[in-house]
């Protein structure tokens, strides 16, 4: 493993990466840019507002609203993370690829992400216009990198603790969860480089709640700067998750404040992409963090200046 990481570090250390450049679709972002990725689920049974965007018109309305509210990326998925009725490859493609094409037609410049762990689904989505493959299941399907390379797309390399897709963690434990996250995600990133994915299009994600209990997700949040220090752009997916719910003892409908607190902490420590259900609120938090960091001027500052 250590050998793979060293090789990967060399292969990935392109000039673009040294400058912290992140490329998504036709866009380039610097290391201080904070991007919102809006979640659009083409599922009848996701955990947050189940079935809300199951029908295509509702899903397109969701995209319109997300763009208006400041989303940089839309992440289109067809299978919930939790176990449940089987969604096979054909059905996942049916749920997502046509919709990706429709969003691409409506928004030629919008960054579109496909939320899948399956390379067949990723291929259909990239053919329909997706720019990024968001794999939350830790590279379970080793064919994703080749698809990203083929289409010039990006790839999210996540840590799911070795869990099979759509399974819940059961009594998981780690000698050092953040060390495991970094080891796994950077190894996947190196594998993606070896597969031919452009290094500036590779993103890493600790995958909160995936293969983790609440303590593990809190630890990963607390130490997120260690992920940012790897040099790979960091994505966080915190929105309304169980670690927020368990921490605050709140049901899924009441986790926005907790989600935003974690969002601010992750942004401060160097995360760059924020996958979220509530786009406007997330955008506000990120704009505020950017202003506190000194990366973004206040919208209007006249207090005590008149």
């Amino acid at each position: 493993m250590a050998v793979a990481r060293r090789k990967g570090a060399r292969a990935g250390m392109s000039e673009a990466r040294e400058q912290g450049l992140l490329k998504l679709g036709a866009h380039s972002f610097g290391p201080r840019d904070l991007l919102v990725m809006a979640i659009v689920n083409r599922t009848p049974d996701s955990f947050f507002r189940p079935g809300d965007t199951w029908e295509e018109p509702a899903a397109m309305q969701r995209v319109h609203r997300a763009v208006t509210e400041g989303a940089d990326i839309v992440d289109i998925g067809g299978v919930p993370a939790a176990p449940g009725p089987e969604v096979d490859v054909a059905e996942e493609i049916r749920r997502t690829s046509g919709f990706v094409a429709a969003v691409r037609a409506a928004y030629p410049g919008l960054i579109i992400s496909t939320d899948t762990w399956r390379h067949e689904v990723a291929r259909a989505a990239c053919a329909a216009g997706a720019d990024l493959i968001n794999d939350s299941w830790g590279g379970w399907d080793a064919g994703l990198g080749a698809v990203a390379a083929e289409f010039g797309a990006g790839l999210v390399c996540s840590h799911a603790g070795g869990q099979r897709p759509r399974t819940r963690p059961f009594r998981v434990s780690y000698a050092d969860v953040m060390a495991d996250v970094i080891e796994h995600t950077t190894r996947l990133a190196a594998r993606a480089v070896a597969d031919g994915v452009e290094p500036a299009r590779i993103v890493i994600d600790a995958a909160h709640d995936f293969g983790k209990n609440t303590w593990h997700s809190l630890e990963v949040t607390r130490r997120l700067d260690e992920m940012a220090a790897t040099g790979w752009p960091v994505l966080v997916s915190l929105s309304n998750k169980d670690f927020v719910g368990e921490t605050l003892n709140l049901p899924v409908t009441e986790r926005l404040a907790g989600t935003l607190a974690a969002t601010a902490i992750c942004a401060w420590q160097g995360a760059r992409i924020f996958r979220a259900h509530q786009v406007a609120a997330t955008r506000q938090v990120l704009d505020m963090v950017a202003a506190i960091r000194g990366d973004r001027p206040p919208a209007r500052a006249v207090r005590a200046l008149a």
Binding site: R168, R171, A175, M178, E219
Partner: protein, 231 residues
């Protein structure tokens, strides 16, 4: 030989330090503490903790539960002793200490990778390790008892757990040795090899069982029982 035994689930949530500010499953916790306290007072030379692990082997008695593996954070400390103790043994040891037991301990893991015969052999050898030994078995039922269960729902899980409870409750532990191991694996009954070792360790003794708790409030089958040898 075994003079008394107790069965508790190997659930990390038994340990209050792992579950946060609010009390979790207080009735389950008190049932486990009562069962462990019974063992502590059984007049044995030692208490053996038996649970599933990745290998069938004995462990140093000084090894302890690694809380930080489940709940990392500032101030979380790693235990003394060699790392790698299977968590069921760590939780069992914690339970004994919590119940006030300060005497000699043995720690034995049995692996689902090894055959039922090998696990039974380990159980029988453990029983012979002291003239008067008390045995704390840390083993769960199926982790597939409900839609929200760690392993999602499997409609065979309830019947399987009921059969285990019936064997434990009636004292007819022989059934455990011949039960379908593959099914136990499919149902995520992770503690099952330890139950087989228990059956071998108790072979020949007449048992009276007190079931202290039976349920699956988080989708994992929990059975707490005290087993007394009467002859």
């Amino acid at each position: 030989m075994i003079v008394a035994a107790a069965l508790c689930p190997a659930a990390p949530l038994l340990v209050p330090a792992l579950t946060g500010a609010e009390p979790v499953a207080p009735d389950l916790r008190s049932a486990c503490l009562a069962a462990a306290a019974d063992l502590a007072e059984a007049g044995a030379d030692a208490v053996a903790v038996l649970g599933a692990g990745s290998q069938t082997r004995r462990w140093d008695r000084g090894s302890g539960l690694d809380l930080a593996a489940f709940a990392p954070g500032p101030g979380a400390r790693r235990p003394a002793g060699r790392p790698g103790l299977p968590y069921p043994l760590g939780i069992g040891g914690w339970l004994l200490t919590e119940a006030g037991y300060r005497g000699d301990r043995l720690l034995q893991s049995v692996s689902a990778q090894d055959s039922a015969g090998r696990c039974a052999q380990a159980g029988a050898a453990l029983a012979a390790a002291r003239p008067r030994l008390a045995l704390l078995v840390m083993a769960d039922g199926s982790a597939r008892r409900s839609l929200k269960a760690p392993g999602y729902f499997d409609d065979r899980s309830e019947r399987f757990d009921a059969a285990v409870e019936s064997a434990i409750g009636s004292g007819a532990l022989g059934w455990l040795l011949s039960a379908d191991r593959r099914l136990a694996g499919e149902l995520m009954a992770t503690g099952f090899p330890a139950l087989q070792a228990l059956a071998a360790a108790m072979a020949g003794g007449r048992l009276v069982t007190q079931v202290r708790y039976s349920g699956a409030p988080f989708g994992v089958g929990y059975l707490v029982a005290s087993l007394r040898v009467t002859g």
